[in-house]
Symmetry: C2
Subunit: 248 residues, 2 copies
């Protein structure tokens, strides 16, 4: 530990900014196992005096490692090497139920509703759902958790023609639709990456700016009509989507 934070080599010219040098040192210590998951780092002030850097510079190095998921900070408690999160693998080309998926893995499932209500549709919803001037949109938003860890935020929108009362949805939206005789047969998903904003980061219990996987799904009825439009945000560190390719 004394070695890790010794002021030596911080005067090297051409080694780049000081915060990057420190960041690299810590990252290497983690990669090599000299810092193991769960280990605590010295307090920021202590690292500063040990390295001869200012606390602001130490913080900048630490922040980058928090963003990349290698460190975790807890206010009032300390800075720790992150535990490896076993990535959950999920097939992308099958529409699977979150609940069944997790139970098959022997994990607990919790789902916290953020809202279930009817709103005037946003322009995005009008586009995606093909709504008319007087149509209204039912919105369902929830946080999906497993074993106490939040994994994803799901925000679904439907025309009230298909779901007049969103309050009736307890667990499975598709279950409720099925009971009403509505069965999507095709869906298209679009996947991209984005840094989480303050709100979403808080809901997923990660630092602001952490990378998240954004998935937008549009589901279609056999008639070709759009029935549902869902935007999900997955924790990038906890999820892994798998796709099998057909090669011609």
């Amino acid at each position: 530990m004394n070695l890790l934070f010794s002021p030596q080599r911080f005067d090297d010219p051409g080694a780049g900014p000081l915060y990057l040098q420190l960041q690299r040192r810590i990252a290497e210590a983690i990669a090599s196992g000299r810092l193991a998951p769960g280990d605590s780092l010295p307090a920021e002030r202590d690292m500063a005096t040990m390295t001869g850097l200012s606390r602001v510079t130490v913080r900048k190095a630490v922040q980058a490692l928090v963003l990349s998921g290698q460190l975790v900070q807890r206010r009032g408690s300390g800075t720790f090497v992150a535990h490896k999160v076993e990535k959950l693998e999920q097939a992308l080309s099958l529409l699977t139920s979150f609940t069944e998926d997790m139970q098959r893995r022997g994990r607990t499932v919790e789902s916290v509703w953020l809202s279930r209500a009817v709103h005037s549709p946003s322009p995005e919803e009008v586009m995606a759902l093909g709504l008319g001037a007087d149509d209204r949109a039912a919105r369902l938003a929830r946080v999906r958790r497993s074993d106490g860890i939040p994994l994803a935020i799901e925000r679904a929108s439907l025309s009230t023609a298909f779901l007049p009362d969103p309050e009736v949805v307890e667990t499975s939206l598709y279950g409720v639709l099925e009971a009403r005789g509505l069965r999507p047969t095709r869906a298209v998903q679009r996947i991209s990456a984005a840094n989480l904003g303050p709100r979403d980061a808080e809901l997923l219990e990660v630092a602001e700016g952490v990378a998240g996987l954004k998935i937008e799904r549009v589901s279609y009825l056999p008639s070709g009509q759009v029935i549902e439009f869902t935007r999900s945000l997955y924790r990038g560190d906890a999820y892994d989507f798998a796709v099998e390719l057909k090669l011609t």
Copy 2:
């Protein structure tokens, strides 16, 4: 503009940290169109005096918006509202050629080799490629660009049994393999999100910490043998992968 950076309302109690208040203000100005793409913001020092905040605090607000892709900073030049990047949509369940893909869209394609060489395999490569003790790994790394914008970093690994001399690959790896009678028929991709590290961020010409889409692909020969293992890193702001779901 005077309005945007007026010190009013920065004394509101209960509105959260100052940098978040400023961040929110700027984000709203962009969303509402009062700040249009390409517009320049005042210099950091000027924003600081206008708002009555310190430069460090202004920087923290700006940094977050740079991370989320809403602002762009150019050293020596200024801070600007980012131009909307039209997201490139790509089908995930087809193995498409980057070159053909872009040309079909009427875009130029450039590919910059970072390295083409033979190495001792890393543990990861041994695992993925199923290498033996004496096998060596051919590595190909390049940055894919289109219209002058870097879009992705591709790092491919193969056993030298399949590709003894990586230097022969000029544009298409699959083309070279095909010429050698090697034709993958199945591939599995795993997708997740990650914050870009200093090196990768530089190669993709974005700020460190920006969200990237990480795709790992393993391709198989008809015999079931693994022929290739590729790790790609796409700019999260410029790419969008599409998958169609089969619903049973």
